[in-house]
Amino acid sequence: MKICKEIYQYRQMIFSLVKKDLRGRYKGSVLGFLWTFINPLMQLVVYTFVFTYIMKAGIDKYYLYLFVALIPWIFFSSAITGGSSSIVAQKDLIKKIYFPREVIPISYVTSCFVNMLLCFLIIFPVMVISGISLNPLALLCLPVIMIVEYFLALGMAMLSSAVTVYFRDLEHILGIITMVWMYMTPIFYSIDMIPEKLRFVYHINPMSSVISCYRDVLYYAQVPDLTSLLEAVVLGALFLVLGMLAFGKLKKGFAEEL
C-alpha cells in the first residue's frame, strides 16, 4: 500500500518518462508522430488485401476481425518484451538516484498503452466504414477491458523487467514465448475452432478472454460475456499483485547488479 502512495507521488516522473518515450520514438523521422497511425493503417491494408482476395478465411470482414484483436495483442506483447529491458535501459538513472523502481515498467507499459489508444482512433472510422453499428452499451465496456489488459500487461512487465536484470537472456526467451503465446490466443481464429480437448489451454490463458471481449465489442458490437470478463479481471489483478511482489523483492539488488 505504501508503495502505491509513493508511486502516486512520483506521477509526474511517470508522465515525463512517457512523454519522453513517445517523443523520442519517432524523433528525427520526417513524418514523426504520424508513424503511429501509418503502421497500423498499412497493416490493415495488407490484411484486407490478403484475406479478402487471396486467402479467403470464411469469416465475414476478416480484416476487421483480425485487426481488433491484433492491436490489443501488439500492445500486450510489446509491453512484455520491451518492458523486460526497460530497467536495464535505465540503469544510469537507477544507479544514480532513488525513486520507486516501479516507475520504470509503469512508464514503459503506459507509453505502449497510449500507442494502442492512438491506434484505436483508426479502428472506429474503419468500423463505421465497414458498416458495423456501434453499440453504446458495449462501448462502455471497452475502457474496462482496456484497463484489465493494462494491468495484465503491467504485471507481466514488472516480472519480466525485474528478472531480466539478473538474467539477461530472458529478453530473448520472451520473444519466443510471446510468439507461441500469440498463436495460443484466438487472434487469427475464433475460439470455436479449437478442438474441445485443447480448450482448457485457452481458459488458463488470460489473454484469450481479453481478446474475445475486444472482439465482442468492436466486431460483433455486443456486450461481452460477463463471466469471461470477470475471469480476466481476476487474472489481471492476480498478475499485477504477483508482479508487484516479485518486483518489490528483486528491486533491492538492481543498483548492484546493473
Binding site: Q12, M13, K20, I97, Y98, F99, R168, D169
Partner: protein, 455 residues
C-alpha cells in the same frame, strides 16, 4: 520549531551490514552461466561491518574517512539506491540527494524542460515544480539560457542547473556527496550559504566530504568511518583533528618505510663505492651553492630546503620520546628530545657556533623558535664531530608541524640551515583549541575545580 521535535530522530541506522560481490569474471547470459560456471568467481567484500547511528531532525552530520572506508556506501544506503544485507535504516520525510547531479537530463531538451524531468525524478508533482520553477532558474543564474538545449551549456552551467534543482526540492533530509565543488567561487559561496539556510530551516543534512573545513562549518556532528565501522563520533573539530592526525601518522609511517628502503639502498651503494677512489680533499670543502644542490641526506624530509656554507653540516636529526625512541607522532604534554649530530670540517677556522631550532605549523604559523645563545648567553665550541641535544615539553595542540634546525656563526652566517627537516604530528586527548596548550586551572567562587580524571 518546538524543542521536542528537535529531539525526534530523522534518520535511524541500526546495525547495518553490507557486502558486495566483486566479480572477477562475470557471465551475464544463460549460456555463459551454464558453460563457465566456475568462471563466476567473486570476492565478498565486506564494506560495512556494523554501522549504527541516529541523526536528529534538523541536525547536520558529516561522514569522514579515507577512500574505500564505506562512507559513500552508507550514503547510498541512506538514499535507498542500495539496500543493506542486514540491519535497518529508517528515514522520516522526503529525501533529496545531491549525489549524482543531473539525473535524467536530456541534452536535446531545454533547460526548462530538464528542470521538469529532473525535479519529477525527485518526486515532485507538476504543481510543486511550477511553484519552484522561478526560484530554481533564479538560483542557477541561467535566465538567458533557460530555453536553450542543455547540450549547448558549459559543464559549469550544467552543474549549476542540476544543483539548483536538487537543492530546491525542499526535502526533509538532504544527502550530499562531495559536490560542493560546483561552478565558480561565487556560485560555491552561494551554494554554501543556501545550505546554511536550508539547515536553519530545520532540514536534516548528511554530508560526505574530504574537506574538513566544509564539515566543520556546516555540521553539528561528525562520524568517522573506518573499515566499515564507526571509529569515532562527536564534535567535528575534534573528530576531524583525530582523523587528520591518524592520516598523518599513516603517511609518516609509509614515508618512514620508504626512507628505510632508500637508506638500505644507499648503504648498499656506499659499500659498493667504498675503496674505489678516494675523494680529493678540496672537494670536501664544498661551497654553499654546491651544498644546496646536494641530494638531501636520509634524515631529511623530501620537501626540506637546505642552505648554508657547509662549514658545519648536520649529519643526523631525530625527535625522540622519553624512552629515546625516534618518533614522528607525539602527544600534547610529552617530553620531546631533539638530538642533532654535526660534522665540523675545520674546527680551527670556525671555533664557535650557535644551534637553534624552530617549529612551524603546516599552515606556516611560526609556533616556536629558540637557540643556545638565547637560552644560555653562551656559544658552543665546535668539535670535528659533535652531538647536541635539546629537551622540551610539547605544549603544541593536535596538528601537523615541521621542524627547522640551523647552526650559525657569531657574525650570523649560516653554516647549515635545514628548513622542514622533519614533519611530525601531534595528537591529544584534550579538547582545547588553538596553537598550544596553556595549562589552565579554573576557579569558581574561589574554589578550584577538580580536573577531569584520566587527563
Amino acid at each position: 520549531m518546538a524543542a521536542e521535535s528537535k529531539q525526534e530522530n530523522a534518520i535511524i541506522v541500526d546495525h547495518v551490514k553490507k557486502h558486495f560481490k566483486v566479480f572477477l569474471d562475470k557471465g551475464q547470459s544463460f549460456k555463459e552461466r551454464l558453460l563457465f560456471r566456475n568462471r563466476r568467481r567473486y570476492e565478498n567484500r565486506q564494506v560495512l561491518r556494523d554501522i549504527s547511528f541516529t541523526v536528529k531532525r534538523g541536525e547536520a552530520v558529516g561522514l569522514i574517512g579515507h577512500n574505500g572506508c564505506g562512507k559513500s556506501t552508507t550514503l547510498k544506503l541512506l538514499t535507498r539506491i542500495l539496500y543493506p544485507d542486514s540491519g535497518t535504516i529508517t528515514i522520516k520525510g522526503r529525501v533529496s540527494s545531491l549525489i549524482e547531479l543531473g539525473a535524467g537530463f536530456h541534452p536535446d531538451m531545454s533547460g526548462r524542460e530538464n528542470i521538469y524531468t529532473n525535479a519529477s525524478i525527485f518526486g515532485l508533482s507538476k504543481k510543486e515544480i511550477d511553484s519552484r520553477l522561478q526560484t530554481i532558474i533564479d538560483f542557477s543564474e541561467l535566465e538567458q539560457f533557460i530555453d536553450n538545449p542543455v547540450r549547448t551549456y558549459s559543464s559549469g552551467m550544467y552543474m549549476r542547473l542540476a544543483f539548483s534543482v536538487a537543492i530546491n526540492v525542499d526535502a526533509d533530509v538532504l544527502l550530499i556527496d562531495e559536490i560542493l565543488g560546483v561552478g565558480d567561487v561565487n556560485f560555491q559561496a552561494k551554494c554554501f550559504q543556501k545550505l546554511q539556510e536550508i539547515k536553519a530551516e530545520g532540514t536534516t543534512i548528511v554530508i560526505v566530504s574530504h574537506s574538513m573545513g566544509q564539515i566543520e562549518q556546516i555540521c553539528d556532528r561528525c562520524i568517522w568511518i573506518e573499515d566499515g565501522l564507526i571509529k569515532e563520533e562527536g564534535v567535528p573539530k575534534y573528530v576531524d583533528e583525530h582523523y587528520l592526525s591518524e592520516m598523518e601518522q599513516i603517511r609518516l609511517e609509509r614515508e618512514e618505510a620508504d626512507r628505510q628502503k632508500e637508506h638500505a639502498a644507499a648503504e648498499e651503494a656506499e659499500k659498493a663505492a667504498e675503496g674505489s677512489a678516494e675523494t680529493p680533499a678540496e672537494e670536501k670543502t664544498a661551497d654553499a651553492e654546491k651544498l644546496s644542490k646536494q641530494k638531501l641526506p636520509a634524515f631529511c624530509e623530501k620537501s626540506a630546503v637546505r642552505l648554508g656554507t657547509g662549514q658545519v653540516q648536520f649529519t643526523d636529526a631525530a625527535l625522540l620520546d622519553e624512552d629515546g625512541e625516534s618518533k614522528y607522532v607525539f602527544r600534547t604534554g610529552d617530553e620531546i628530545t631533539l638530538r642533532l649530530k654535526y660534522h665540523c670540517v675545520e674546527p680551527e677556522k670556525t671555533p664557535k657556533g650557535n644551534f637553534g631550532y624552530g617549529i612551524f605549523r603546516e599552515d606556516s604559523v611560526h609556533c616556536y623558535g629558540t637557540n643556545v645563545e638565547i637560552e644560555s648567553d653562551s656559544w658552543v665550541a665546535l668539535q670535528p664531530d659533535g652531538e647536541i641535544e635539546v629537551r622540551f615539553r610539547n605544549h603544541l595542540l593536535p596538528g601537523r608541524y615541521f621542524l627547522d634546525v640551523a647552526v650559525h656563526a657569531p657574525d650570523g652566517t649560516y653554516y647549515d640551515d635545514i628548513r622542514r627537516i622533519q614533519a611530525f604530528a601531534v595528537t591529544s586527548e584534550h579538547r582545547d583549541i588553538g596553537v598550544c596548550r596553556l595549562e589552565s586551572q579554573w576557579f569558581v567562587d574561589g574554589k578550584a575545580l577538580e580536573r577531569k580524571t584520566g587527563e
